[in-house]
Amino acid sequence: MMKGPSGPATTVASAAPVLRIGAVSKFFGTFKVLEDCTLDVAEGEIVTLLGPSGCGKTTLLRCIAGFWEANGGTIEIDGQHMFRVPVNRRPVGVVFQSYALFPHLTVARNVGYALRMRGLPRAEAKARVAEALDTVSLTGFEDRYPAQLSGGQQQRVAIARILVMEPRVLLLDEPFNALDAKLRGTMQVELRLLIKRLGLTSIFVTHDQEEALTMSDRIAVMRAGCIEQVAAPDEIFDRPATAYVADFIGTSNFWSARAEGGLVRLPDGQTASTVLKGEVRVMVRPHNLRLDAAGQGPWQGRVAFHRSVGPLVEYHVEIEGGMTLRVATMRQSANRPIRDDASVSIAVVDPALCAVYPG
């Protein structure tokens, strides 16, 4: 488990999860959008729903918020069933993709909206609005209208508007989509630190894997309405549970092989262990492969193309059967990158980090 910088909150490690999603399904007519989605989110944890467009991330979020009712399964917050609980009674705050700021209200009135709806005394509401605006560093913007703010400022108003009502669960649907790439990077880190500082239990939706790796304590990879794997970012990256997850997160090389007696023979002569038998697919990450320009190993290829990506050199190596392997090595000043068109021998650095999936 990740430790939040807030410290004390994490000492209750075995406490019940704040949000429990149990076997949730959702149909539109006969079209199944969600199938048996199960996910627990612990106090103060940020879980990301990651998956390609149309896999049902927004749908799951909308079921949690109560905009749509799930057709099957349970959603519980702090042990309370959310079935048939109307949107305005769920202890949930949503940051919309479009932010959905009220264009006819000033920043202060947008942020104070939930407090007015709840009928809080004016003085107290005012103090809490000021506090929330201070939290997102927007003090002094009280009297502006949303149209007079930049995209990043609008996003912070949307977050402040949720913070004042102190929800148990924070839901964010691709909140960075409307921002340009540069701002996105800094806002990601800022938002993660803010959520962690406030200890908010959050579900964050994105289809950008880098964003997921930055933001999350755990990532839930979704595929066509199902959750394929839920694990910490490192775990997802190093030990993807399925070939789909491996393919979706990071770059990967796949090839077919046969497993016998708990072992798979790799093309370079080494072996990797597995519990599977018969036809399998082996996956290896680009940084787990090594090239040798003068090597005479059993696994030979030809460099088709190489390029420098920051501290890495990435090679596309053609091997027998028309396949192309991706290989990444650290750039070293001592030896120059291998030329294009050179013959190389390929070896797996650590066979234990190869993943083996059913063929």
């Binding site: 918020a65 305005n88 949503v94 006819h104 909206y113 939930a114 007015r116 508007r161 949720i162 009502m165």
Partner: protein, 271 residues
Amino acid sequence: MIRHRLFPLSDLLGLGLIHAVAIFSLVLLVAPSIIVVIISFDTRAYVSFPPEGFTFRWYAEVFDKGELVEAMLNSLQVGLTVTLLCIVLGVPTALACVRGRFRGTTALSVFVLVPHMVPGIVLGVAVLFAGSLVGVVPSIWLQSIAITVFILAVMVRTVQSRLMRLDPALEEAAANLRATPFQSLRTVTLPLLMPAILAGAVFTFVEGFDNLSVAIFTHGFRDRPLPVELLALVQYTSSPLVAAVSGVQIVLAIAALVAVSMSIGLDNVNE
């Protein structure tokens, strides 16, 4: 800003066309109004152009003639009643048509539109006959209701089109921020619809004030509206009195436009 020196041919054509249409409409729509206003100040007792003198005599006569003032007040009452009815009936109808989750929202919006497709005269005669069948005699109220039925579609359509362009996430956000459905309507939906409602109100008021085709069959014989009174007037007199009444209406129309543009902006009316 740097402008391109050379316009492409299509731009030139487009610009030319826009100017041509603008000039054409100015000549056709505005010029007659200007001529009417000029005539209304003529000293001669018959309609002719160009005028020979300048006098406020006809305007004085408009306000001296009891029946003209009364007709104006009647039309004002009809206009306000129609507007009020259209807001009270039209806004909920538009909400139901766009946000409703029941079957028949399309049928409802067509149902509202149909009376507007029927020629006003047909509607007027129909209301008159139907009224006499159940013993309802023409009156200022029957006239107001008939015109409301006729023009309701404009209010519904104006509000509908604005509602369809409202981001549904705004209402969801309100609900998420603890607003009950009624609070969300009051604090988010209605304020954002206000420009459309005001625009609809301008249209429906003008129709209520100005409508002749429906009014002529449904107005009360003691409560003649202005268009009917004017029609009678031009049949019996040919003095610039009628022009003076038009002059008063033009001033009122300009005042209304200025008031609307200062409060919500003409862009919002234009949608």
